[in-house]
Symmetry: C3
Subunit: 445 residues, 3 copies
């Protein structure tokens, strides 16, 4: 079965060295992983631009003691974006809090991306990430569940081949249980920590002014939708324009000065629900002196989640102003072969469809945050999501602080700030998905 | 009596539809309200520029359920800047926390304002305001007592007529008593909530770099005045210049790099007091490479408020380093016909003069903040002001938050932040008035 | 002895009016102070640029009541940078919390500094400083121990002579003991407060983009050094380049996008210790489109301070991963003739060498922060430093607040903010010195 991969990958020396690690942890999708193009789907369905380049695939990796300088020799190949402990990574090694995991690959920038700003996106990397392009440090990020990106334009060479190095540190290996990942059916693999890149890595060309984040809030009572576009590189007088489409037909538009929310009418809205998960399409543009300088596609659902006391005084959850009994499973989002990462997009979708087939209308996403495509599938398939905050993170990160005096104060402040920062990033990340209806910041406490 | 208005307003179709609402709530100034030009006085006496345009007058209004999209049909005419519940508004309706109040009017920009930045100013709007120009959202503000403005340049059309829409939400209707507006002589109208625009709305052309706020602090012991000019659009090397005048004669000047305070000598200062309310005039300029890019006029009074223990150890309030016994009435600032808004500037002045005639030297401005002209009159007439913070606001705003989990934490933090934000805006607003000598953040608690 | 000064200074009218004040407080270096050029050494050894101009020397001074306007008449001459209470200042007067100390001098800008940004640096001024150039306010600073600077370019005249005025306020005279400066051998002079400029004042020409601060952290386990360059005036795509030298020979380099840390390999590092205080040299540049727009020289030491439990469970301090018993004196840094300020750089160095000669390997710098050159000497000579935070500051600064209501809240918040702000500035200031190994935020508490 694994030979299939190798045959597909003929001509790739590195591919010939790679195979899933271990021998008993396959899923029905394991063999469907395309080694040349794992997880090829567009990774950010809520903000779609025409041009992008997927960097998933076989990269070099090496595990070295924490603090070591940029390595030039590597242990072997790893299949990105599967965590280094997973079978699908082809490595299945632990890193630990004394070591760091380094990645290396090269890439080229398409000729027609010239004069653009080039963004390097990471879907998620657990936990602290440092990135160099051509040996120039371009950025750092903390937080294992949310996407981040860097403008790497200044670090690119005129030459064809660009060198990418990524360093990952994840101290939470030690303190794993307090992270709250409970196990329904314990097997040794379920306790495996997850370290490193576990979602799609990709490149995107943008103009020097561009939309970096969208916050889309439907209002079914008011018959409108509010869109806040966060931007980079805009000028104070730039304007954001939103167009709303119902199956290709424009039904409303609105504008705002950059930094202000755009309100667009959605009269007689088709409501979104698990029974009828209708999604409106949306186009977001930045206008400067009337000229479009950035444009992207998005979508939203018109739904409302609220609470109401019933005749007996009991608080009832309502969907679209009607009592709605939500029931569904606790979903861990662990894959025997990929751990945090589903082997294929079909696998991701399969679970959601199966849950609906069982008659559930809700999933409680337990102490994990999924890739954007998972929420996209829930939006499309129609299933409600209760999102837990992954608990326990941020409490053990700071033990490496150098000075032994005055440390206690710093630790608690930083740990708390880190918790709120990660939680905020997670809420920003999912805020526009109609499927997400409940946030659970503290697990059963 | 009301016919007077209509006769004055002949030729105005809209005016013919408007009249004060109710039948028993007039004051001696009610009939002096100029329907074509209500409250025509310059609204910001501490920062005077030559050019401006008053937008007070008859506007369209409509009350619709909260969250509704921008309306295109209106209930009728409202006389801005009188609150919708007031008689002088011509409406006298309640809005409530389930509804929003929308305003609409058109205006034109004078031809000689071309190439300027156009600011749209609101003296005060209770409580949350959203503003659109030509269907482009230009800004939002929370806080019912303080002035705010938006640069609307990017939203203006080359065409003559510009469309202005304002949405107001005021959830504090429900929780009225906790706002602390005590009533001396209860009548049904005194309990009326105040919603919407209640101070002058106006336009002002400025250069792209301009002074947006002044903080003027006299120092009678040191014989000088400190002026901090807050600016927009300035460059790091721009310079602020202050000139001080005594009845037209320049007596001192000073300069600072933008962002730093300017200190100007005021030797042998004529002290400000209720007995002798002398005001110095001031000119504030922004210089760029020696060229004036913004200029405005202001004023200040040289006075000092301090405390001193007397021979018996009792703390005494001092004015200008001498014991000064302050006595005066609690002043609510409610008008039977205009509620928060005095029918005319003469009415505003009349109350202050009357208080002085009664022999008082102080007014405690109770749980309300007045328009800038009221403090200006106090400065000119010579009366001390104790300013209360309007209490109880900010505690009921957040009940519309969508998510029922993790909400408690957000609510208290946001409520507290809102309280400090509003309080800070109020202090910034009045800090430069010599009449304001005492701040009372918490009412009798 | 003092005649020496005067003879050296022939031709200087002002110098003839100056002499050390008092009669019994000399040190062996007192007579070595060069009146024309006191403390002529480069004041910032960790960030060296080629061009600079020392402004130390005889300035005009005057003590006037707090809040007075810029004076034009002066009491006499003061030798900068010696505190006004010191003998070496030539003044030896107290200022007190009711007064302010003003300084005045003129200076000229070298012709070849044209088109540069001109920074005015203060090594340290105790406590609050306001600065005017040519009667234009250029900046303000609070905190008595750390360096600060202002870009004075916009205030300079095309004429030759530039006028500098400095105002200093130090309210902590009253509350002196709580500052924690304990006295080993009490003499009347040891209790003298320190007010005003007490470190070198100097000018520096820089490009419009320049490095304003360096944070250099060695990592001996990883064989590398991390350098974070804080910059002013840089553009998002500018690049920081670091080169590391071992006695003139380049051994490593690294780059980062501005705002990111640069990691440079230091393989087989020569470790820094009191026994072998080896320092690497470093060159820091800002590159814009490949062109160097700023360049400066620095240095660092490869050392590690950590703790380890020994066989008995006792926590041991380690230097470079080996138990290291640190012992040394409590050092107050008080000079009979100069108070906070050593009379000469040789005097500063002498104390450190003497401490090593006595067999100590550590100095606890008690409730004072020294000039940068002191830490530089410790780095070069090889002695460890425990840095105390000067305690007690910030608790009495706010009594001049005008309004007697709502004051308590402001006081405690501001006092706390001030404490953290000063502490942070002190840590930023010393963070890159290999000699500094322990921070003591609270003295014996």
């Amino acid at each position: 079965m694994l030979m299939c991969f190798l045959i597909l990958e003929i001509g790739s020396v590195s591919a010939q060295k790679w195979q899933p690690a271990g021998d008993k942890i396959k899923t029905q999708w394991t063999e469907l992983v395309d080694l040349a193009n794992p997880l090829p789907e567009y990774p950010r369905p809520q903000m779609v631009r025409d041009q992008w380049q997927n960097l998933n695939g076989l990269w070099d990796y090496v595990i070295v003691p924490k603090g070591n300088f940029t390595p030039s020799v590597f242990d072997g190949k790893i299949l990105v974006p599967f965590a280094v402990e997973s079978s699908l990574s082809g490595v299945q090694k632990r890193v630990g809090d004394k070591n760091e995991l380094w990645y290396h690959r090269t890439f080229t920038i398409p000729a027609n991306w010239k004069n653009k700003s080039i963004l390097l996106h990471f879907g998620a990397v657990d936990w602290k990430t440092d990135v160099w392009i051509n040996d120039i440090k371009v950025g750092t990020h903390q937080g294992g569940y949310t996407p981040f990106s860097f403008d790497i334009s200044a670090s690119l060479l005129h030459a064809k081949e660009q060198k990418l190095m990524v360093k990952v540190y994840d101290p939470t290996d030690k303190g794993f249980q307090p992270r709250g990942k409970q196990v329904v059916d314990p097997q040794s693999i379920w306790y495996t920590p997850v370290t490193g890149i576990w979602q799609t890595v990709w490149l995107e060309p943008v103009e020097h002014a561009y939309v970096s984040h969208l916050k889309t809030i439907p209002n079914i009572d008011g018959g409108n939708v509010s869109v806040m576009a966060v931007t980079e590189g805009t000028l104070p007088n730039d304007i954001i324009e939103i167009k709303v489409f119902d199956k290709g037909e424009i039904i409303g538009k609105g504008k705002a000065i950059v930094g202000e929310e755009v309100l667009v009418a959605v009269p007689k809205a088709k409501l979104w629900s698990p029974e009828s998960p209708f999604l409106y399409d949306m186009e977001v543009s930045i206008l400067r002196n009337g000229v479009v300088v950035d444009k992207l596609k998005s979508y939203f659902g018109m739904r409302k989640i609220s609470t109401q006391r019933d005749a007996n005084g009991v608080v009832r959850l309502q969907l679209n102003n009607k009592d709605y009994f939500q029931f569904g499973p606790l979903d861990q989002g662990w894959w025997p072969d990929g751990l945090y990462t589903a082997p294929t997009d079909q696998a991701l979708l399969f679970d959601i469809k199966k849950t609906k087939d069982f008659g559930f209308n809700m999933i409680r996403k337990h102490v994990k945050v999924e890739p954007a495509r998972w929420y996209y599938h829930c939006d499309h398939e129609g299933i409600l999501v209760w999102q837990d905050m992954p608990s326990g993170d941020g409490s053990t990160e700071w033990q490496t602080y150098n000075y032994f005096n005055g440390k206690e104060l710093n630790r608690s402040v930083q740990s708390e700030q880190n918790f709120y920062q990660e939680w905020k990033e997670i809420m920003d990340f999912e805020i526009s998905n109609p499927c997400v209806v409940v946030w659970v910041p503290f697990n059963e406490s």
